[in-house]
Symmetry: D2
Subunit: 344 residues, 4 copies
């Protein structure tokens, strides 16, 4: 079986495993207070071109989202998200489990606009009964979105400007941030992301690490006592250095960016394979997720040797599917796919 279901099919970049072996018998104190975490935080701050932020390492994305959002909101506040946002649909109610509503805004492409945020905010405060309604307290976006689309630098800055005017915090889910930044149509750098939000995370799990996410907090109020929250929500890894070491490897020589670029190159070839076959695409994704629309019988055929995700039904005969590339996608797998699609 050749797998294209997702971007967490393999282990980690070999350099990470190598470093874990090299450091294995070092003795370090726990819970992220070790020299590796310290150094990784330094490297990330440098890559973000920011000195005054806090950097924390957590194990996974749902955990990171939940911890940040529940740390930021008072009990009567909710978090604005695209209706397709990961926190709204694929975290088993993690946000609600901490007491907060996800205020879902309709979105076709997975993005929300500065205007939509502003309208949501104003609709709340203009409603005479607003004290009976969940108060927007934060905005959650992801870069890239669940649908592989991207915010431009201008769009992001506009959202952040609106947020600041409205007293809303802006938080960016960067589970696949590397793949966004490596995309040809992306006009922003990591430093641009870091400059335009209250907090965001750089995803490791889907971009070369075994697991782990690096959370960057700019907002002073949110920084306060944050490690208590990580501990409470189960994200304070005893051997915190495992996270530090991985992000050291990813950021000390630009490996994070290099392997992200590899995935984007593979995604382009993925796209080409389906274009050559005459496929339309569900969304115009420029990142590592591609959404070709295929005939149902073609899908059945292809599924015998290839795994990929059925995304949504388009009509009676056609379904949009998702093929992911990643840091680990091999030419061998792409060659096999190319051949198979040609021969359908």
């Amino acid at each position: 079986m050749f797998r294209f279901d997702c971007d967490y099919l393999e282990g980690a970049h070999p350099l990470i495993l190598q470093r874990l072996s090299e450091t294995n018998f070092e003795q370090t104190i726990g819970y992220g207070c070790d020299p590796h975490c310290e150094n990784a935080a330094k490297l990330i701050k440098k890559a973000c071109n920011k000195d005054d932020c806090d950097v924390h390492f957590l194990v996974g994305g749902t955990q990171t989202n939940t911890t940040v959002i529940c740390a930021a909101l008072r009990p009567h506040q909710g978090v604005i998200s695209a209706d397709s946002g990961h926190i709204n649909v694929h975290e088993s109610g993690a946000i609600e489990s901490t007491g907060h509503k996800v205020i879902a805004l309709p979105s076709d492409d997975g993005k929300i606009s500065a205007d939509a945020v502003k309208n949501c905010f104003e609709a709340h405060w203009n409603d005479e009964a607003h004290e009976h309604i969940v108060q927007p307290g934060m905005v959650y976006i992801s870069q890239p979105t669940e649908k592989g689309t991207l915010y431009s630098k201008a769009e992001l800055e506009e959202i952040f400007t609106v947020c600041k005017k409205c007293g809303l915090l802006l938080y960016i889910d960067g589970a696949r941030l590397g793949y966004a930044l490596a995309s040809n149509v992306c006009d922003m750098t990591l430093a641009d992301v870091a400059a335009s939000c209250d907090a965001f995370y750089i995803g490791g799990t889907k971009v070369g690490a075994l697991f782990g996410e690096a959370l960057i907090i700019n907002n002073e109020n949110l920084k306060k006592d944050f490690r208590y929250l990580i501990k409470q929500k189960g994200g304070l890894l005893a051997k915190g250095r495992l996270l530090g070491i991985q992000f050291e490897v990813l950021f000390e020589n630009g490996l994070y960016f290099e392997i992200s670029a590899h995935a984007i190159k593979a995604a382009k070839r993925l796209r080409q394979i389906f274009e050559n076959h005459g496929c339309r695409f569900l969304a115009d994704s420029e990142t590592n997720q591609q959404f070709p629309i295929m005939k149902n019988e073609e899908i059945a055929k292809l599924s015998e040797e290839f795994s990929f995700e059925k995304w949504c039904s388009v009509n009676e005969n056609e379904t949009a599917v998702r093929f992911c590339s990643s840091w680990a996608t091999t030419d061998k797998n792409l060659d096999a796919l190319e051949k198979a699609v040609k021969n359908i």
Copy 2:
């Protein structure tokens, strides 16, 4: 100012105040274990034609909804509701504050259908990633709905049948249940309601009581330890008898139904007043809430002497407004309104 904003503008039916005075110096034990609560529960069971249900008295609607829903659901489950449902939009996130998502189904008329429930249920279980998605555990409807519309007996039974097949609990918010049952187009009795759900409440606050809701629980699992939950959620009134006494008065001689009928009669006159003026209506409400569409300048004029709620903008020049009648609506107020509308 003549007020038509809502159905909780006045105190209580005079018989209730009289009974509170008569019983004032009785000494009773607290927390709803007194003879008045016992008797009121008996009267309600009789009116529901049900022996095997539990009856509890709580202070208000949001509290009742929250207590029932959080008692029923496990942490990963959510409650299905129309998007306009009170729990989804007007309870300041009370349901989410207990950890549960409101799974909002789109609805134009405030109702949800048995099919919509079934589809929602099946969509969940057919999704390969369902363990990452909030699991539907309960269905919340209100009779009448927020928009004044009504479920027919057949519709309610169909929903309950689907719920039982799917293992979902059905809970009915009856904040204005009296006004539903008194409506000319309603084809069900209180016993029919009681027979077709796992739990429901009979609203007192909006139908003649000072405050208070009578919760009826049919489902055995939900019955267990329910008083702990009432206490925890702040609904176990120290002088519980105040609730018992009020529901005794409302149910010992059919007062609840009688005063509900009064409100419906007043609502018809409300409707007539606006029909005579040539108004269209936002919804075809047969209960105590009427939603005429008026010109904005007419609304401004009328607002000088009358209070009512601006419901939603219909177009640039017109707005739908809400006028409520209740057990307490007087001819005097209706006469004044009739005259004013004529003279706009």
Copy 3:
């Protein structure tokens, strides 16, 4: 049966019922925004000698405690309380249900000292692992305590001083505050209470009202958006004026203080009755709760005609019991008790 179990055995002071009748057909807007609530708040501010506080009316004590505490704390913080504190033992886990630990300090007399608060605070911050431990964020005391004991003015001020130094909020549960202030050994006024805390509530339920508590908030951060929280926690009464009217009656001519004094006078007679019988007392209560220690066979005998609470076993043969007086205690009941105790 003559009842002395608690201080919420009867309805309300007759003047309250009378006022509810007089105002019954006034039409007012809901949720505590009516003129009666406004006026009651004014009267309470005056009685507290404070202009810059917010006054809210809630239905019950558990609800008030829960709403204040969850509004004040961040998710990793807990509230310090005496181990016998109402929030720690008699609210069915209401505080924990909003996510917060009650940090219970051992206490024999129901009080906690400024030193104990300071030690608890310092123990937390001196612990190297404090990020793994619930952080103290607030102090909860009640005046009088669950055991009928009282804080002196100096003790209260000392606690508040420590709290301010430590950045802890101080909240006072005043369910029986009237009975504390009316006690002969109490050296503080309502204004003194109001001056020495971040928030407190004046209990109505146990002091003459049908139900209802008046919450006073001094702390600016806690004031913000507080009505959202009241709504979310089920405490925003639709007919909020019912609370306003009751507190108007209680505070417009000093009725609250007058009926509290009545209860203290009755409590003294209660005490005398048991002293004359040669009883020891569990605690030296100067408020409306008295805790005589009686032989078990005497208790059995007395229980035939009198109801009271078994508080705790003292030894094999003796049990401490609780007799409460209240604003409603009659000479008739006290006479009967006196006679019965004499004749045991």
Copy 4:
């Protein structure tokens, strides 16, 4: 610096790193549904001599405890624990953050007895006001305890018998379970543990793994929908196989037991080193944590080269300290310690 602070100072057993490398480019589906997790579960069931249990893999201990406890309890229930229990003192309020009180029982040695559980249960139900009190729903113990002490097989069975009689679930925190089972005074096997509880976890983090805990659930009700809860609480690792692979290595040839025995042997040498120096011990620990009592100036001296935890002050001049051994403790470090203690 020679470190003895805790048992998570190093990475993982080299065989684990080796296997991670060997399997690194396998493509597997995510979230613990891969063949490695399946095989690891099979190996663990065999080691537990149990077929009818569910096995899940989670990332850390606090996360595992929180997920199990919140899955098991209804909202009004709490979990019984020794006052020194990890959930009560060192998880930043994680249990309370899911809405549940930790019902702390006093304990000198970190253990709770079957009698203490029974008394707690009966005290609840015999209290007339029990509906106002958090209901015990579950018992949490750890084997070994926080103080290094052990339950005997008979004690454990007795607790489980009481739990079953009382309708309480029994859950065992096995963060250091390997070290308990390897102890010379331990009279139970892994199968004995598995036979005497509703759920328990086998700790990997402290016993040879990089991270990860294997949760075993026997109770049918608790099994239901458990993966939703793991996801919601942030414990469903995307690359779940990382956990499966580690537990495969630990359980396929008894490595888990072998390296646990190594730690116990090292602990004995630790103990001997301090006994030879004439030290008393705080607790009579037969597991991998040793608690010698040392003079404060000795501690200061020793701290220059060795790290260990100050556990608690014993008197003005002496402090109990904690030295941990683990699967990774080397003779080199023990030799250095022996020499240093001799020369103090």
